[in-house]
Amino acid sequence: MRPADLWRHSTFRLALGVTLAVLGALILVGTVGYTVLHRQLADRQDARLLEIFTTLQQSDAADPQDLVDAIAARITASPSFSTVFLLRAADGRVLASNIRDVPIPAGWSTVEAAFLGVQTDYPYRMFAGDLNGDHLVVGLSNADLDDLSEIILAGFGWSALAVLVAAVAAGAWIAARLQRRLTDVTLTLQRVAGGDLSTRLAVSGRGDDLDLISHEINQTLCRLGALVDAMRQVSADIAHELRTPLNRLRIHVEQAARNAAVLAPVEDDLAAAIAQSEAIDQTFSALLRIAQIEAGARREKFAPVDLAALLGDVGEVYAEVAEDAGQSLRCDLDGAAWVMGDRELLTQAFANLIENAVRHCPQGTAIRCEVRAEGNRVTASVLDTGPGIPAAERELVLRRLYRLEKSRTTEGTGLGLSLVKAVADLHGAGLALSDALPGLRVDLQFARILGAA
């Protein structure tokens, strides 16, 4: 990551934002803390100053000379000028002092050391008042107060610096980690854009938000891959399955044109050509329909469907068709069996299954439709007593890639069963072909939903 790029990364900006917020909070806390502490210390200093003044005031009450002595003693005890005194008599004479004779107003005040003629850098807090006609000024150096304030300020400063460094480091670490995973996502998506739909994002397994997003992206990629596969399959199927009948169509038309040229009848060839074009249209529609079902967009339109009623209706439509073919069709329906599904597609799927039985079984075959609702499953079955499908081929029938080979060897049923398979997959239903002893048994197992209206 180049520093110039840094600003463009949301993770870096996030880390920086957090750091600035922490810094802001520290400054606020520091300022408030410092102000409160400083005021507290100043108040204490004022209290001490007042205490000294009051003590001297009391000593003055007995004898004026006592006061002068007491001040002189205190001056001696404060060689570093931490405490300053000035006692002036009513006539202006200075009775005791360790500072220059300067006018100090009565009450509280703060003055610079230089003004008092003292060689220190700290200002003084002064209290002045009248004592039996004399004027007493007492002052305390702010040295302690200022030093303490400085120490507190430095403490705050250092801790702010430490927090700042920690925040920047943590932010940078988090940003780098996040950035690494985001870079992974970017690289993966670039590979996808480059055409590699099999690539997947790594999921850390911590179940965090990035994992969730990665999981979603992976699922999208799975769907996308399936869609693209389906599209490829359809294109291949169309090319494969339509070229042959197109060629036949062309032959019929050319033959008709040749016949027309010599005034021979053309009706037969044209009728054959129309039949051929209809066959092409049917194959094409079936392929498109299967592709659309496999694309899965229909799932959004699912509604509760009573499979028993639906299969009953389809069975009713075909009962007489089977009868005309010398077969019998019976429905064993076991009360309502609700599933979520697409009525139109389910109707077509079951019609395909029944038609397969009608078309590929000999006279005398008994066809049976069953719907059973057990526990949380609904099983819809179509059984016949016909020749069945050999066990080895049952697998092939359900495998998509074998569709064409299958449809070629068993005259067109391949697409019908492919559609059933596509509809089953769309509904998340299990599709199983087995031996009905004798005959073919097709089971579709759906997830049951409870009592829709």
Binding site: S277, Q292, Y318, Q348
Partner: protein, 253 residues
Amino acid sequence: MGAATFVLGRWCIQTAWHDLQHRKTQTRMRILLIEDDTSAADYVARGLTENGHVCDVLADGTDGLFAATRDSYDVLVVDRMIPGLDGLSMVRALRAAGRKTPVLFLTALGGIDDRVEGLEAGGDDYLTKPFAFAELLARVNALARRPPVQEVRTVLKVADLELDLMRRQASRGGQSIDLLPKEFTLLEVLMRNEGRVVTRTMLLERVWDFHFDPKTSVVETHISRLRAKIDKPFDLALLHTLKNMGYSLHAPR
């Protein structure tokens, strides 16, 4: 391939025309065809004209909307993929303008949801390309003379055949006929289209709600069962099979 289909289709329509000669001439209708594929448009327009209708052709959705709003047509035949304004939007706009002219959508989109989309946009019927002209003609005729919604008929009559929709009873010449529920619906669809051709696909859609092409003789089987009940015991046949076209229920002509 398209051109070949239409040449073949033209042959088909000539065969259909012979069948139609025997029938009462249809009332002349004004039909507006909005289709940008000129060879398809010419073919359909010519077929409709040969069947006694007046057919105007436009190739653009905007022009089509304008014409359909301004003039009173009996039926609109609208391709879904046309320049200007697409077919769906055109019909939506037409319906929004309060025009109730019946619309038949033509489309090369054979998708499962496309039919529903077309009907939701205000279309009355839907036909997927490639189609046989006979199918188009039958559907256009069925649309044009669809009775107004206000007119609720409770008893349908064709010659001496009666169908009481309220009591769900059928009778012919005063003799009661027992029909299964689906047979009743089948007869109802045929009787509502008295004298007009109802194609196999139309029956599949309207009677059984099948929107796919069955590989077995579903329609033929049920028609023959119905015929055994309503025609066989009587002298005059009312239910007629028109080869390559469909079925028609009418009194002898």
